[in-house]
Amino acid sequence: MHLSPKIKTEPEAPRSLWTDSFRRLLDNRLALFGLGFFAFISIMCYLGPFAYRLSPDSQVLALESTLPFTKAQLVEVRYDSEKATPDEVTTLVDFGEVYALDPEADTAALSRDGTLTLKGIKFDAVERFHLLGTDSKGRDILARIMRGGRISLGVAFLATLTALLIGVNYGLVSGYFGGRLDVLMMRFVDILYAIPFLIFVILLMILFDGFRYKILLVFIAIGAVEWLTMARIVRGQVLHLKEQEFISAARATGVKTFSILSKHLAPNLLGPVVVYSTLLIPAVMLLESTLSFLGLGMGANMASWGTMIKDGQESMRSAPWELIAPSIFFSATLFAMNFLGDGLRDALDVKSAKD
């Protein structure tokens, strides 16, 4: 019998490390969920304000601590010194621009056509819908969550970038040059590790206090602490890579040290660095919010999620939703980022970034 072995003539299309990794990531449901939720939060925080147009700062004292999902009818009384009869209208606008209509109050009542007449001046009533209610100062919670999220995410990305820059360069130099320099540099890292890092950040916050661009310095302060682990991971990777042939070849052909570091070593660090950065973002968000919670953060006019949770704790007796709403958003974002980071680690097959 004649055997005709079937030989595949066409070779299988080559699959790169990245396609493989991407495929593995797509198989991981939790990681995909994390990615999706993260995208949702980013879109909500950055584009949400265009659709949900309530200001995070406008305080309506008459509307303090309103329940979530409730409508409020109110009349906006703009202060106009020429038209308004001073006595009554000024007392109304004392609390800001907006006056909420209290249905029980008999001094001002909304007529059927939705207007309010005060001293002969007619005002139109508007309906306001606070999706997640208002806080104890009458500010819209959802609007504050969106702005707080922008601050938290912004801090997280910039601090991670700082940590990335310092950590990768430090680890590269320490690992590549080795010897006494390596010992010295790593000893310094060990010393910084011995100080609990929250203490170190608090010290940095004190150091930078009073600067005008404190928010920028917060990024740097946090990045300046979080680079330690990154430096260790990169150094470990470099120690392993620099013994390989392609580095010897580069050295033998006279490639400059700087080019070896930037063109030959750095690209090979991408996997672990990407994974660790993804896990660093939630860690930084947590750290920034912890600082805000302790009252050492960015100050009252830059309320991040940590500040909101702190404010919510103070008024949780009267308005528990003020605590619950930011807590849910914050925790869910942390979950999503951790799932994504773990998924990327499995997909890129990087050894545990923790040591």
Binding site: D190, I191, A194, I195, P196, F197, L198, I199, I202, L203, L204, M205, I206, L207, F208, D209, G210, F211, P282, L286, S289, T290, F293, L294, G295, L296, G306, I309, K310, G312, Q313, M316, R317, P320, L323, I324, S327, F330, S331, L334, F335, N338
Partner: protein, 305 residues
């Protein structure tokens, strides 16, 4: 063993010196001092204060003098607590933090280790998935979310516990639980990982083969090895308990050292910041040393190295 301990203690000295130096210059180079805020004080009184607290000498003289004071444990008076030194504050408030930390650690171990052991011995069943999903939740949830939510549920809605304070035994429940749950989650995961590795090893199979009960095989034979990752986690856990106590003591208004440290940072009490940082650093290094000794005692492989 004794030489090992002495060597480690010797290594601690330069590290502490470096931490002292970094901390000293970081807080002294910072803008704003202990006298720069609130009410305006008359010029001559300010001058007297600066003199009394030794702020008029050159920085390097102050550096040396403060270092000497810490070596001799004869600490300078504090600017934020009149008539007291950092030693008074620490000896008064550290026991509170220590008690909180010990309760938290007890909760973490008593919840975490059994959960991890059960999950490992019933791998890939609901007894594995349920505790491990809970553990993942516990790790992701930050302390300052868990604390206020627990206070809201148990303190305000159910009225089972108090919301804040540290006066009665009931007050201990929520702070310890808040601090302990995170570590319980972490320890559960570590125990499960360690146990899975040990349970598949030969000596456990031998134990089972000679007829040891499942309980005996798991708890008596395997646990001793499976718990090792937890032991090595205890060192970093202590550092985490220290910083975790900052948040928990703030949430529940516990008069511990963490609260004092945060307030000292807010009030710019240089001397209290410095002494507390040094105290924390020594504490953490001591704890790491103890963990290392414990590891050698539990792991026969390390004993002869």
């Amino acid at each position: 063993m004794l030489t090992f301990i002495l060597k480690r203690l010797g290594q601690a000295v330069p590290v502490l010196l470096a931490i002292y130096t970094i901390t000293f210059f970081m807080i002294r180079l910072a803008p704003g001092g202990p006298f720069s805020d609130e009410r305006k004080v008359a010029e001559h009184i300010l001058e007297r204060q600066m003199e009394y607290y030794g702020y008029n000498d050159p920085l390097i003289v102050q550096y040396g003098r403060t270092l000497l004071q810490h070596v001799k444990l004869d600490l300078p008076p504090l600017t934020s607590h009149i008539g007291l030194t950092a030693a008074d504050i620490i000896s008064e408030s550290f026991p509170v933090s220590l008690e909180l930390g010990l309760w938290a650690m007890a909760i973490a171990l008593f919840l975490g280790v059994p959960a991890g052991v059960i999950a490992a011995s019933r791998q890939n069943t609901w007894l594995d998935y349920t505790p491990m999903s809970l553990a993942m939740t516990g790790i992701c949830l930050p302390t300052f979310v868990v604390g206020p939510i627990l206070a809201l549920i148990f303190g305000i809605w159910l009225r089972w516990t108090s919301v804040a304070g540290w006066a009665s035994p009931v007050d201990r429940i929520l702070p310890s639980l808040t601090l302990g749950l995170y570590y319980a989650a972490y320890i559960a995961r570590l125990t499960r990982g360690g146990m899975l590795e040990i349970l598949s090893s030969d000596f456990v199979r031998t134990a089972r083969a000679k007829g040891a009960t499942e309980f005996r095989a798991v708890v008596i034979h395997a646990l001793r090895g499976g718990i090792l990752p937890v032991i090595s986690f205890l060192g970093p856990a202590l550092a985490g308990l220290v910083t975790g106590s900052f948040v928990v003591e703030t949430i529940f208004q516990v008069p511990g050292l963490g609260r004092h440290f945060v307030l000292a940072a807010v009030n710019r009490d240089h001397s209290l910041i410095l002494s507390t940082v040094l105290f924390y650093a020594s504490l953490i290094m001591l704890a790491n040393l103890m963990v290392d000794v414990l590891q050698v005692l539990l792991n026969p492989k390390l004993r002869y190295k």
